[in-house]
């Protein structure tokens, strides 16, 4: 068997073996619940919106129900597999109410089978990435295929950032060759909305190549048709769930902003979170000036995504999966960045939380869960876990910055970016002490020569 196929099959086998026994109850529960609703022809956004309104009415706070808040197309990746499952298992519920902070009631033996089916689209995406990477470099394909972080997010957590990764990779690979396919792939990468930051880059790059631009936008528009449908059918719900919720979330995650989790004042948290957008917009504009017309596309995409991860208000543990294939292709980037979000997962959620399908299978295991959870909650309530979480968040932000700097240093700018930055700092009246030291040491070296 050729080695490329071996890697693909081994990657698939590892994931399939883990799939039935683990899950993130909240996230897999959302996909399960949404698959049922979509097959019944119900409106997902109306459901989430009603729950949000109910929570806001009860508490008097601007809080949101954390349900299906994704691109409408996403659920069509999962619903067919749920449908196949329901042919085997029947329509009875097997996972009842897993929304945070509740824990689900699971029905056996069907839960593991359900998990197996619901994770197949994620695995197919992972396999597509492995296959595409293997075409250029088998070593890189292996790194992705057997990366503990990727396996954890896809096979144990059950999160679908691998689908975003696959479409983002296809967007990049087809961008020069087939603008329409690239546009479609980019539209599909928006299943999780954070790749929206790339839109200005893709558009600006094609200005002047009008035919390609039209094809790219046509492909993109095609994926937006369901969005248009929901904007017509239920504009208030759709806007609230997708734009208001995603656009006004409290900052935090594996970033320097997670300190906000210890400020128990939602209105204050939301205000502070809004300010982060300023830096994000400035950094994206500067990057557009840098990469708008020149420089390798791979570096440009990664720079935009890294800037978003650095300054964007929310950076969940799984987001890095989306750019990991591109990082593997990039010479300047260090793909080992995944270690930080991987560590963060276990600081934020206890490992046994992901093993709920195993622990719920027997009252004995369930009692172990409760004992472990008492200890975990004690640590959490005392704030002991927050300290390493914050440290990892800050460290990850610094490493993202380092990778971004490496990319910027390695690429020629379409405008004189360095000069632009220098002029800004001169106007602002400050100069980095490091740059002073650099100038001084350069002069000393010249003198010594």
């Amino acid at each position: 068997m050729e080695s490329k196929r071996k890697v693909v099959l081994a990657a698939l086998a590892v994931r399939l073996a883990l799939a039935p026994f683990f899950m993130h109850a909240g996230d897999v529960g959302t996909i399960y619940e949404s698959s049922i609703m979509i097959l019944k022809g119900q409106n997902l956004y109306d459901f989430v919106y009603q729950r949000t309104m109910q929570m806001q009415y009860v508490t008097g706070l601007p809080i949101f129900f954390e349900g299906y808040a994704y691109h409408p197309l996403l659920i069509y990746f999962f619903a067919p597999f749920y449908w196949i499952y329901s042919i085997i298992a029947g329509p009875n519920p097997v996972m009842i109410d897993g929304h945070y902070p509740a824990l689900p009631i699971l029905v056996y033996p069907w839960t593991p089978i359900l998990l197996f089916f619901l994770k197949i689209p994620i695995f197919l995406a992972d396999i597509a990435v492995v296959y595409l990477l293997a075409r250029s470099d088998l070593k890189k394909a292996e790194l992705y295929a057997f990366c503990p972080y990727v396996i954890f997010i896809s096979a144990i957590w059950g999160m679908f950032d691998a689908i975003v990764a696959a479409f983002l990779l296809i967007t990049y690979l087809t961008y020069e060759k087939n603008s329409f396919t690239s546009g479609v792939a980019y539209g599909l990468s928006l299943l999780k909305l954070y790749t929206i930051v790339l839109l200005p880059l893709f558009v600006v790059r094609l200005i002047g190549k009008w035919r390609e631009l039209a094809m790219f936008l046509a492909g993109l528009t095609l994926t937006f048709l369901p969005v248009v449908y929901y904007l017509i059918v239920s504009p208030t719900s759709f806007w609230n769930v997708l734009v208001t919720f995603q656009g006004t979330r409290v900052m935090g995650g594996v970033n320097l902003y997670n300190f906000i989790w210890i400020v128990p004042d939602l209105r204050f948290d939301l205000q502070v979170s809004a300010y982060t957008n300023v830096l994000l917009v400035i950094s994206l504009v500067l990057l557009l000036l840098h990469f708008g017309r020149k420089g390798p596309m791979l570096d440009a995409i990664l720079a935009f995504m890294l800037a978003y991860f650095l300054f964007g208000r929310v950076l969940n543990e799984q987001f890095l999966v989306s750019i990991l294939p591109l990082m593997l292709l990039c010479r300047e980037c260090d793909y080992r960045l995944w270690v930080a979000p991987f560590v963060f997962i276990f600081l934020r959620s206890p490992f046994y939380y992901f093993a709920v399908p195993i622990l719920w299978a027997s009252p004995v295991f369930y009692s172990y869960y409760l004992s472990a959870d008492t200890i975990w909650r004690g640590l959490q309530a005392a704030g002991y876990l927050m300290i390493p979480m914050y440290a990892v968040g800050v460290a990850f932000s610094l490493l993202l910055l380092l990778n971004l700097q490496r990319i910027l240093e390695s690429t020629p700018s379409s405008v004189r970016f360095g000069e632009l930055l220098r002029s800004i700092s001169r106007t602002a009246g400050f100069q980095s002490p490091f740059s002073r030291v650099r100038v001084l040491s350069r002069r000393v070296r010249i003198l010594l020569r």
Binding site: M55, Y57, V58, T59, G60, L61, I63, Y100, P101, A102, L256, Y257, F259, I260, I262, V263, P264, D265, L266, R267, F268, D269, V272, L279, A381, A382, G383, M386, I387, Y390, A391, V394, A395, S397, L398, L401, L402, F430, S432, P433, F434
Partner: protein, 273 residues
């Protein structure tokens, strides 16, 4: 350099909020919980998905202001009005203004408000129940654990006992971590029909108050004292002081590693040349 200042600057946000902005006001957070920090008390009112801590009144001892020691917890899980459970049988809404948290319990025919605020002199916490009609209420108040209630010590009791009704309930407790003795007091606005205390291990863990009325207010206050120098105890409220230190340490390590890496690189370059 900008980024370093940015990280360190932001790490002070929780401290600024805690010291300047969060005093004496009900603040909502998480999935719908509310909390208030006054000079002496920290009050938590849990989110709608949890029937415990409705509210949970904590005391900050003068000799360890960072510590939050539970003084008394009202439980909706185990409290009833006209035979209906406060957590399971009522629709609840919560509205926090600056000083008063208004929790409204509704079901057909019954509307009950629970107003929670710190007393004007700051020495107690008032939990006031106001209903649209006369009710038969059973409230359960928890504390793990009280050494004595109204002078009755748990060592003399093995079963729940009814104590003489009155408008004052005094209790004592021992807080091991601080080696301190605590006193709690519940002042009732009217005479209840029954007060019962429940033994648990080496103390009491519950006081139940039954009354028939459309209004009842309970003013909870407490104090703590220690004969010895109390040891330092870590509390969640210390986190705002720690995060800036963590930020500076992480940045320092990062800069050190980056500097070391550069040195190594330049050394290997010069040795090659």
């Amino acid at each position: 350099m900008f980024f370093v200042i940015y990280i360190v600057g932001l790490s002070f946000v929780p401290l600024i909020h805690q010291t300047l902005l969060s005093k004496n006001a009900w603040l909502g957070y998480g999935t719908g919980a509310y909390a208030l920090q006054s000079q002496r008390y920290f009050i938590l009112f849990n989110d709608p998905y949890d029937g415990s801590s409705k509210p949970n009144i904590h005391i900050n001892p003068y000799f360890a202001p960072n510590a939050r020691i539970s003084l008394l917890e009202f439980s909706d899980w185990t409290s009833w009005v006209n035979g209906f459970n406060l957590f399971n049988d009522f629709n609840v809404t919560m509205r926090g203004n600056q000083e008063i948290l208004d929790v409204t319990y509704m079901r057909p025919g019954i509307t009950l408000h629970k107003f929670i605020q710190v007393s004007p002199d700051g020495n107690g916490v008032i939990v006031k129940l106001v209903a649209n009609k006369e009710l038969t209420a059973h409230l359960e108040l928890w504390k793990w654990v009280m050494s004595s209630v109204n002078g009755i010590s748990a060592s003399k009791v093995s079963k729940p006992i009814v104590i003489p009704t009155g408008t004052v309930i005094n209790y004592t407790f021992w807080y091991r971590a601080l080696n301190a003795v605590g006193n709690g007091s519940i002042l009732l606005s009217r005479n209840p029909t029954q007060i019962e205390v429940w033994p648990f291990e080496d103390g009491f863990n519950k006081i139940t108050v039954d009354f028939i009325n459309s209004e009842m207010s309970l003013t909870v206050s407490g104090s703590m004292s220690t004969a010895t120098t109390p040891p330092f105890i870590w509390d969640y409220s210390d986190l705002p002081y720690v995060l800036p230190v963590v930020a500076i340490l992480v940045i320092a390590v990062y800069l050190l590693v980056a500097w070391h890496g550069k040195q190594k690189k330049s050394r290997s370059r010069s040795s090659r040349s």
